[in-house]
């Protein structure tokens, strides 16, 4: 009798253990162990993790440093934030973090790393398979540096979040991060006085998306192959300096959009091969100085609602259309400042008899395309077409063109564009060869058995 009771107890214990095995207990235990280890640490302690996968989710409530070994992975359960930082002075380094919730119907937006406190550092962390990458929620003076954040792809907008989301967060430093394929690269919402340096953002919707965020500084960031490089909306006093907006090339793409943005300084940036280099709508009193706006389909697209823009010392060359004003001329837009206009390239030949680097007469650009651009969005499909020049010439003869800009003090172009030089060189060679050898020679060359006449 006693023996059978013992047997039953043993069987029950075995059953419970087997259930635990069936429920994959080692994962749960790993998460609990890491969480327990974090909870048991003293403030300021350093936790060194091994090169293995730890199951999350984790909540950090003490100021600690958590360092991975390079291949350390913290994997969330897909039901919340993978790592929630709820203490100040936390450092996360050399980790891969993945598996936050992708749920869009919850009250909270989840992230691989969500920071709710100040003075934290996230450094050399790789993030993947998460809704947002790093989320700064009312968190200030944090440093987010040298991280790599991988999204799904730029085609997916609703199903994923942003690389770095900065929400009511001020005085943060975002430096040398690489963001690829997320919804927006960095999204700032009511976030001011942040510094953003040396980040590289590609294949997103907007590399930079700005709403109601003032007095931030952007330097040396690179935005490539996004639907839009940077979209600055309802934000003021932002400084954009030495950034590169390259190859934002889609049908509706732009390098930089300023929408209802005021008193921003855009200086020494490169806008290269974008559908539109700079796109201004309902923007006021912005200064564009010493930027290179080169080889875009439209250099500057200026809607009539934009007023008091100043363009000075910019290089605006080799664009299909250098600048267009759409839906009428805005008020007080200036194409020169303190006697210095812009370099419009060889398309606008100038003389400079007094050798002061300023053209001897004003340049003015007329176009009829503004009406088509305003009325018909398919116009953008024709911007690469050589037929565009004929179309403009025809409309010029029919006096349908309007003045797009007048630069009273245009700068003298230093040198020609290399690509154009190459094309012209090849064409001249070909033409010279045909002229020298003549039509008969052409016949003999291509139909080399053709009779010589």
């Amino acid at each position: 009798m006693e023996g059978s009771k013992k047997m039953k107890k043993v069987a029950l214990i075995l059953f419970v253990f087997s259930l635990l095995f069936w429920l994959n207990p080692e994962k749960k235990m790993a998460a609990e162990n890491l969480q327990r280890a974090i909870d048991s640490m003293k403030a300021g302690a350093v936790l060194k993790l091994e090169n293995k996968t730890y199951e999350g989710n984790l909540t950090i409530r003490k100021p600690i440093t958590m360092i991975g070994a390079g291949k350390t992975v913290i994997k969330g359960d897909g039901k919340g934030n993978t790592i929630s930082v709820k203490a100040p002075h936390v450092t996360l380094s050399r980790l891969t973090v993945a598996g936050s919730s992708m749920n869009r119907n919850s009250s909270e937006e989840y992230a691989a790393i969500k920071i709710f406190t100040n003075d934290n550092t996230v450094d050399h962390v790789t993030i993947r398979d998460s809704f947002h990458g790093v989320y700064l929620s009312q968190a200030h003076q944090n440093t987010i540096a040298n991280n790599t954040i991988m999204g799904i792809d730029k085609g997916e907008v609703a199903g994923q979040g942003n690389g770095i989301q900065v929400y009511y967060a001020h005085d943060n430093l975002l430096v040398s991060n690489t963001i690829d394929g997320t919804r927006d690269g960095m999204f700032f919402d009511y976030a001011s006085n942040n510094r953003i340096y040396n980040n590289h953002i590609s294949n997103t919707r907007y590399g930079l998306h700005y709403m109601y965020s003032d007095e931030n500084v952007f330097e040396k960031n690179i935005f490539t192959m996004n639907t839009g490089g940077a979209a600055i909306m309802n934000s003021n006093h932002i400084k954009l300096k030495n950034n590169q907006f390259i190859f934002n090339y889609g049908n509706q793409s732009f390098g930089l959009l300023l929408l209802q943005a005021t008193d921003n300084e855009i200086e020494k940036n490169t806008f290269y091969m974008n559908q539109r280099g700079i796109y201004l709508d309902q923007a006021t009193r912005n200064l564009f100085r010493r930027n290179k706006i080169v080889q875009n389909q439209i250099g500057v697209e200026l809607w009539s609602s934009s007023n008091q823009q100043t363009f000075t010392e910019n290089q605006i060359t080799d664009n299909t259309l250098p600048a267009v004003t759409v839906a009428g001329q805005g008020e007080d837009n200036a194409w020169s400042k303190d006697g210095k206009g812009n370099d419009w390239g060889s398309a606008f030949p100038l003389t400079d008899l007094n050798q002061d680097g300023i053209g001897d007469f004003a340049v003015s650009y007329e176009s009829s395309l503004h009406q088509l651009i305003e009325d018909q969005e398919l116009t953008s499909f024709f911007l690469k077409s050589p037929a565009l020049k004929i179309y403009e010439k025809m409309n010029s003869l029919l006096e349908r063109n309007d003045v797009m800009f007048t630069d009273q003090h245009p700068l003298i172009t230093r040198k020609g564009h290399p690509l154009r030089t190459a094309v012209i060189g090849a064409l001249v060679l070909l033409a010279a060869w045909i002229l020298l050898k003549g039509r008969k020679r052409l016949c003999i060359t291509f139909g080399r058995n053709g009779k010589k006449i």
């Binding site: 730029k154 085609g155 907008v157 590289h200 590609s202 294949n203 919707r205 690179i222 490539t224 192959m225 639907t227 590169q244 390259i246 190859f247 090339y249 889609g250 049908n251 509706q252 793409s253 290269y272 091969m273 088509l372 009325d375 018909q376 969005e377 398919l378 116009t379 499909f381 024709f382 690469k384 077409s385 050589p386 037929a387 565009l388 004929i390 179309y391 290399p418 690509l419 190459a422 094309v423 060189g425 090849a426 064409l427 060679l429 070909l430 060869w433 039509r439 052409l442 016949c443 060359t445 291509f446 139909g447 080399r448 058995n449 053709g450 009779k451 006449i453």
Partner: protein, 265 residues
């Protein structure tokens, strides 16, 4: 097979093919040597797009000339009449001649761009699938304009006529076709945009460009309006395939129906 061999021997001895290739080599090298200014991680794509936008001026006209002169010289040398009298029908001759032309142009083109790829590796991290799409785009373009050239050679009666047709076709696809579409643009509505789209992509230059830019992932169609969605009612690859088949068929058909067996000086 002996048509292909004959075409090779003729073109190796001639200058037209070498001139065409040397222009493409010159352009691609000059763009590559200036590429250090593109030394960022997307520089490879920028270079390919720039290269495409440059060679697109040359490949069509050179292929038109090579195709047209190749057929026309068969008339001048009276070899066409001999071939048609002895063994071949005109469609049979045209098919074999076209295959010869393809091999003569496409093989050196592929060979050069393979060498070019090796050189590019010194400058950029290379994306092979994008390069393959770039090469495929050039091949499609070359094939279409070679076949058009063959048609011009078939129905032209004199060299002057042939050169005139070649230049006109080049001019049409480069300028006139899009100029007409630009003039139609204000009247495009949601109701007729699909017809407009067909006309737009009927231009092989546009179909190839769209295929290349979307295939390489540099041109995105995110957030399209209803009008744009209707304009892009199928994939760029299908637009290119349709344009390719259409122009090959039209060129073959025109050559067969309107060909002249003899050409005048």
């Amino acid at each position: 097979m002996h048509y292909i061999w004959k075409e090779w021997k003729e073109n190796i001895r001639g200058k037209g093919l070498w001139l065409s290739l040397s222009i493409i080599v010159l352009i691609s090298l000059s763009i590559m040597f200036r590429s250090p200014i593109l030394s960022f991680d997307k520089g490879f794509y920028v270079l390919l797009i720039n290269l495409f936008e440059t060679v697109i001026y040359f490949i069509p006209i050179l292929c038109l000339f090579i195709g047209a002169f190749s057929i026309f010289q068969e008339k001048e040398q009276k070899t066409l009449i001999m071939l048609l009298t002895k063994t071949d029908s005109y469609p049979g001759f045209l098919l074999k001649k076209s295959l010869g032309l393809y091999s003569v142009v496409i093989i050196p083109l592929i060979a050069w761009f393979f060498i070019y790829l090796l050189l590019l590796k010194f400058y950029f991290p290379v994306d092979f699938s994008s390069y393959l799409i770039f090469l495929l785009s050039l091949i499609c373009l070359a094939l279409i304009f070679l076949q058009m050239g063959a048609a011009i050679g078939s129905f032209s009666r004199s060299r002057m006529q042939m050169i005139g047709f070649s230049v006109f076709i080049w001019f049409y696809f480069f300028f006139l076709h899009e100029f007409i579409l630009l003039s139609l643009l204000p009247d495009v509505t949601y109701g007729n945009v699909q017809w407009f789209s067909i006309l737009y992509f009927l231009n092989p230059l546009e179909a190839v460009r769209m295929f290349l830019e979307t295939g390489m992932g540099v041109f995105s169609f995110g957030h399209m309006s209803r009008l744009l969605q209707s304009f892009m009612w199928t994939k760029p690859g299908y637009f290119l395939a349709a344009s390719f088949v259409f122009w090959m068929a039209v060129s073959f058909g025109t050559a067969i129906v309107f060909h002249h067996k003899e050409g005048n000086e």
